[in-house]
């Protein structure tokens, strides 16, 4: 590596962490939330901590090849000790093996698709996989609303939403709920009238939606316009304050399960929300919360490893993390480097996420 000169100049307790993120293009909103969560955590850690963090952001544009280049650069040019990112599951499938091969920890904060951590021993995630969250939601909603027949919608060009859809179908089957129709759309679509008109004519008890909040909020709006009043059960993507901001009153009754629950009566959570609000003038969403936690988890492991440069040690210590208390709740890695954590089922009421009881 030709970058050793600059590394030497830095004090020994500075850890360089690379962040390949979706910062421009269609998904830039998610990348930005991740960046903000990380930067907030960084400023807190650097203010008090023994370990200082240097974050190096690289834009991946949500494209696989860009992600590969970014990860390669971070590892081989910037000599980072670990990587937080990339944003999309597809990017991780391509970049994860590279980091693993180079022996650098790579941790996704939003990569919820199935099989992510199987691509390499150095691949971690603190994003709650859909395979854990959705069954929880479906079970609770079925019980609560006595669901018999539902309609399902999902974004079919988004790997993560497709993965969520598959889990939805499984859980619905397990709970004995009939699926009337499956409708698809694409990320960034704005017109859902055709699908929803069709769904309206079928009179389902509820609609399951696997998509990001932007499409989700437009779906909610249109659905209410067309007179569909039933509950909407969403996946992780619903979990953003933007949902209520865009959909307004139409968001009432939307259900999602998430480890991130801003209404939680927890000092840590409330302090985070306040600090975030102060710094960025908006409420944090789960992307921000999970990346915020991710950096703390990383620092935790760095401290235990006792080195800011030893990649192998960092990996082994990271895999041992247990009982970490973050804003998304109690956290541990399981043996497959997936998170083991609890999720709460939330419902929108009066423009707020509240726990569904």
């Amino acid at each position: 590596g030709g970058n050793s000169a600059s590394t030497n100049k830095q004090s020994a307790n500075t850890a360089k962490i690379g962040v390949p993120a979706y910062l421009s293009g269609a998904g830039a909103a998610y990348g930005e939330a991740i960046r903000q969560g990380l930067e907030l955590a960084q400023s807190e850690i650097n203010a008090k901590g023994k370990i200082k963090i240097e974050l190096i952001f690289e834009d991946t544009k949500g494209q696989k090849n860009e992600a590969i280049n970014a990860v390669n650069k971070l590892i081989n040019k910037d000599n980072v000790v670990a990587i937080i990112g990339p944003t999309l599951s597809g990017e991780m499938f391509a970049a994860g093996p590279i980091a693993s091969q180079a022996g650098v920890v790579i941790m996704g904060t939003s990569t919820t698709a199935e099989g992510i951590t199987e691509v390499g021993d150095y691949v971690f995630r603190n994003a709650l996989p859909e395979s854990l969250a959705i069954p929880n939601t479906v079970k609770k909603a079925t019980a609560k609303y006595n669901l018999k027949k539902v309609a399902v919608m999902y974004s079919n060009n988004n790997d993560w939403a497709v993965s969520g859809y598959k889990t939805f179908m499984q859980s619905l089957k397990q709970n004995g709920v009939e699926v009337l129709t499956v409708e698809t759309f694409a990320d960034k679509d704005t017109d859902f009238s055709a699908q929803l008109t069709k769904i309206a004519s079928l009179n389902p008890d509820a609609v399951m939606v696997s998509s990001l909040y932007q499409e989700a909020s437009l779906i909610l709006k249109k659905a209410r316009e067309l007179g569909i009043k039933v509950p909407f059960v969403g996946n992780n993507g619903f979990n953003s304050p933007q949902l209520m901001k865009i959909a307004g009153a139409a968001a009432e009754g939307a259900i999602v399960s998430s480890p991130w629950y801003p209404g939680k009566d927890d000092a840590k959570v409330q302090a985070f929300i306040k600090a975030y609000q102060a710094k960025y003038n908006k409420a944090p969403d789960q992307f921000a919360a999970q990346s915020y936690d991710a950096l703390y988890i990383m620092v935790n492991a760095l401290e235990k490893a006792g080195s800011t440069t030893d990649r192998k040690k960092l990996r082994d210590n990271l895999a041992q993390i247990k009982g970490f208390q973050g804003v998304t709740g109690k956290f541990a890695f399981d043996e497959k480097r997936n998170p083991a954590m609890e999720a709460t089922v939330l419902i929108v009421k009066n423009g707020q996420f509240t726990e569904l009881k």
Binding site: S24, D59, K73, K77, G90, A94, I98, N156
Partner: protein
């Protein structure tokens, strides 16, 4: 050597090679004046076919890549026959539509795993590594680790592919067939009246372009472990076209140069962080304003050759040996 051994740079150079192959594929179709935006679609056919063949059937990489090429070639023949009579931008959109149709089908098929894409594709570097260790090179050689040697081998393979294609293009360009292609590009109707079987040559080049694009796709699939439908969407089709137009589509060196520059540019611009895209866009505009015919044209090439010829003469006169 250090530079090329750094996996970051190595990876970029590999992407350059892949993009160069794509550039050549669009050069081939453009050589009869056909503006096709379907090459991203053919690329995806090549990528999926070859990835599936290696994963499911355990075929050797080279074989599966070639099969991908053949599959795309057949597809091109099938859609080429009706579509080829469209002109200019109409053809562009029809082929772009073809690319979209392929993408939607890939999204819906089970075997392609929809939007989730195919992960865990055996990479060339890994396979070469294995083969090397089988022949007893497990500890590396000449100060290089096994992995580094494998990577260099991959690079060598890619460079060889590009070299063969360039050779092919140059030879064709300078032949009777090349002249016929140029005539078709200049005036189709007149070319036909001059006795050139326009349809035949157009379909030939359309299919060749498809095959080459598919080979690029197959190689790319075995470079990056993972392919998904996103890799082959509309933006990719346009990007491929950019290589040729920016570099110049008259001579095969043009798309090559275009591919190199446009692969390197985003990496060079990383320092500019959030202004990266903006600068990239501005550069495109400025380049077109100054070199609308593309960076390299027949004239520039002639000029360079003259210069080179002269300097070679000077060289030999000043420093013998």
């Amino acid at each position: 050597m250090d530079f090329i051994l750094n996996p970051y740079y190595l990876q970029i150079v590999m992407f350059m090679a892949i993009n160069a192959v794509l550039g050549i594929s669009i050069y081939l179709t453009l050589s009869t004046g056909q503006l096709s935006l379907g090459n991203a679609g053919f690329m995806s056919i090549g990528a999926y076919v070859s990835a599936l063949l290696t994963i499911k059937a355990g075929a050797p990489i080279l074989v599966s890549v070639l099969c991908g090429g053949v599959a795309a070639g057949c597809m091109a023949l099938l859609i080429g026959l009706p579509v080829i009579r469209l002109q200019g931008i109409y053809l562009a959109i029809a082929t772009l539509g073809f690319g979209e149709v392929v993408r939607v089908i890939v999204l819906n098929l089970k075997i392609t795993n929809g939007a989730l894409g195919i992960s865990g594709i055996p990479s060339m570097a890994v396979i070469f590594g294995k083969q090397l260790s089988e022949v007893g090179l497990s500890s590396g050689m000449g100060g290089l680790t096994l992995q580094q040697i494998a990577n260099l081998l991959v690079l060598l393979v890619l460079i060889a592919v590009v070299a063969v294609l360039v050779f092919f293009c140059i030879r064709v360009h300078n032949s009777r067939v090349g002249r016929a292609l140029a005539a078709i590009k200049a005036d189709e109707k007149a070319a036909e009246v001059m006795g050139i079987d326009v349809t035949y040559y157009k379909i030939l080049m359309f299919c060749l372009g498809a095959v080459v694009a598919a080979i690029a796709g197959g190689l790319a699939a075995h470079l990056t472990f993972y392919i998904g439908p996103k890799d082959f969407a509309y933006h990719r089709a346009v990007e491929i076209l950019l290589f040729a137009v920016l570099g110049g589509s008259d001579v095969v060196w043009g798309p090559l140069l275009g591919a190199f520059l446009l692969t390197a540019l985003p990496e060079v611009l990383r320092f500019a962080a959030e202004y990266r895209e903006m600068i990239y866009g501005a550069i495109l505009v400025v380049m077109m304003a100054f070199r609308p015919q593309g960076l390299l044209s027949t004239q520039t090439l002639r000029y360079i050759k003259e210069k080179l010829g002269r300097s070679r003469v000077n060289d030999t006169s000043t420093q013998p040996g």
